[in-house]
């Protein structure tokens, strides 16, 4: 569904991604794990068109989207849930969701969009309870749900999720990850998940890629990565020599 081939990304003279190749098949949850500064967020931004790669190609559903604008990429069915949620704090929950459907706004779409918003409330009841509250007053977990809900309003086929667990309590993180799995089940969504919380991510993922200093150093089935000692030592916080 999504294929990256030899993607290089530069920030000025610094190379943030080095010939990264990866793929996501329809219906998969794929985790991209790695430490700080490994290039995970850079890659997501490259996929969603916010950053242009210096070389390499990004293909989505058979079309080369490497040079497409972000809004066009969203319209093609690829939504990005950014790191740190980035909800519009002064706007109400309902307005945040409405903004998520921006790319679909056309005359006569009003009812469909209303229906989708209530579907999001069904999925995340807490958002329904707080629909008129400014998004900035929500808790971290609720904001994360709102951010995911907002992305879903664009009717994506592939969801890019950047660090959904960031700054959240472990039980809230579990909750968010449960939602991610159920998104696949209920909506048939495909998910590319970036996480520093490697263990939780690999537990719900089918496959994973491990990034280090902009390069993929390992890839494979999620279970294999969980069993890999390098991954355990570097990202799962296990001191194996003790």
């Amino acid at each position: 569904m999504l294929t990256l081939k030899n993607v290089d990304v530069h920030y000025g003279r610094i190379q943030a991604a080095k010939r990264v190749s990866l793929h996501v098949d329809p219906g998969e949850i794929v985790a991209l794990i790695g430490g700080n500064g490994a290039g995970k967020t850079t890659l997501l931004c490259t996929i969603s068109g916010l950053i242009r790669p210096s070389t390499g190609s990004v293909t989505f559903a058979g079309a080369d989207i490497t040079r497409h604008s972000p809004e066009r990429i969203v319209a093609q069915g690829l939504s990005h849930v950014p790191e740190g949620r980035l909800v519009f704090a002064p706007l109400s929950v309902a307005d945040n969701l409405l903004l998520g459907s921006y790319s679909r706004h056309k005359f006569g779409q009003g009812q469909a969009i209303e229906a989708d918003i209530s579907a999001i409330y069904d999925m995340f009841p807490v958002l329904g309870e707080r629909r008129n509250q400014p998004a900035g007053t929500l808790s971290g977990g609720e904001q994360q749900m709102l951010s995911i809900g907002r992305a879903l309003m664009a009717k994506p086929r592939l969801l890019l999720l950047d660090e959904p667990s960031m700054g959240l309590a472990p039980n809230i993180t579990r909750d968010i990850f449960r939602h991610v799995v159920s998104l696949r089940e209920s909506l048939g969504l495909t998910v590319l998940l970036v996480e520093q919380n490697a263990r939780s991510a690999l537990k719900i993922a089918d496959r994973g890629y491990v990034l280090e200093t902009g390069r993929v150093i390992l890839q494979g089935q999620a279970a294999e990565l969980l069993a890999n000692r390098d991954v355990q030592r570097a990202y799962l916080g296990r001191d194996l020599d003790a």
């Binding site: 030899n6 080095k18 390992l218 294999e224 890999n228 000692r229």
Partner: protein, 434 residues
Amino acid sequence: MIWQPKYETMDRAALEQLQLERLQATLTRVSRNVPFYRMKFEEMGIDPDEFRSLEDVRRLPFTGKADLRDNYPYGMFAVPLREVVRLHASSGTTGKPVVGGYTKNDIARWTELTARVLSAAGVTKDDVIQITLAYGLFTGGFGFHYGAELIGASVIPSSSGNTRRQVAIMQDYKTTTLVSTPSYALYLADTMDEMGVNANALGLKYALCGAEVWSEGMRREIQDRLKVVATDNYGISEVMGPGIAGECQERAGLHLNEDHFLVEIINPETCAPAEPGQVGELVLTTLTKEAFPLIRYRTGDLTRLLPGICACGRTFMRMERVLGRADDMFTVKGVNVFPSQVEAVLCSIKGLTPHYQIELDREGPLDKATVFVEADAELLVDRIREAQAVQETTRKRLFSELGVHFEVKLMEGKTLTRFEGKARRVKDKRTFSA
């Protein structure tokens, strides 16, 4: 049955993407973790970050058996020893053996791959599988063992040797699948004859034969005498063991597990890529191994890639049965000959068996090659004139097929040495002093 259809029937573009991803990750890891490769890459000015296509692999250095011996025992490992859960070693007939290590993940993948090969040969969870390959440092026994267990078959780890007991086990335990070398399969058939065991009365259905070079004629004999479907499979201890490639029941070439191994065929003399469809040396790059990754390992095995898609539905490329080892090839009067070629001729002649030995000697300054081959008993005893005709035909056929003269000696049945491990067909008695 196709064990992992998701991979084994992948379309080419998806497979190549997967191979590229895995190759790039492998290169990054070997250049970081294996001093041998790091130094070699530095010497050759190779930046592993620059590898952007599968064709780029041709710029990488080869790895040879000598490199593995120089780094004996653990020098080529890409992980610390404490992450290695299993060690195997190659036979080491010449010099030091080669030690191969496996992490937990390597073992799990190896198991999947031998399960693929076994499934392709017909094995299911209903089968009773007798593994007569050696259990021990050799990869054969253990490699198949775990794959068969994963499928859910009932495994009899009878290991090698004690042939009469093997036959008794086959009879009593109702073995349906035999895993052995081809020469041992025939030895078992001989032993059954001696013991008066009728193959028809056994439950045998399949024989997976590998670990040595064999011919279509030998396959026919194994199939006829043991009443089985005999398939070929390929493995090499240095790279992993069995599970690298295996035939399906179409018996039309060995499917290479390309999602785990990148395959090249090179001209063994020039090291240039062989023309498509040409015979050359098989070169393997591991794409998923953690403990003991290898870049462009020269297997020494000669084969060629077969064009087209197999009727079984698997999309992986197929290789022809191994035609010989680059190093068991022998030269008679300047002509390169593989024992398998001799065997093919012998098998095509009525009255001869595939039990043979080649002796190389000198007659004055000239090479002299003799083939000792066992012939049917009645031919030798009752029909001497006919036997002479067979001998003459064999001599002529060998010359016309191989372009070199062989003396042919017909032997009585069971007079030549039988091999329980790998058959050593060629005895070279030539001395090269003046």
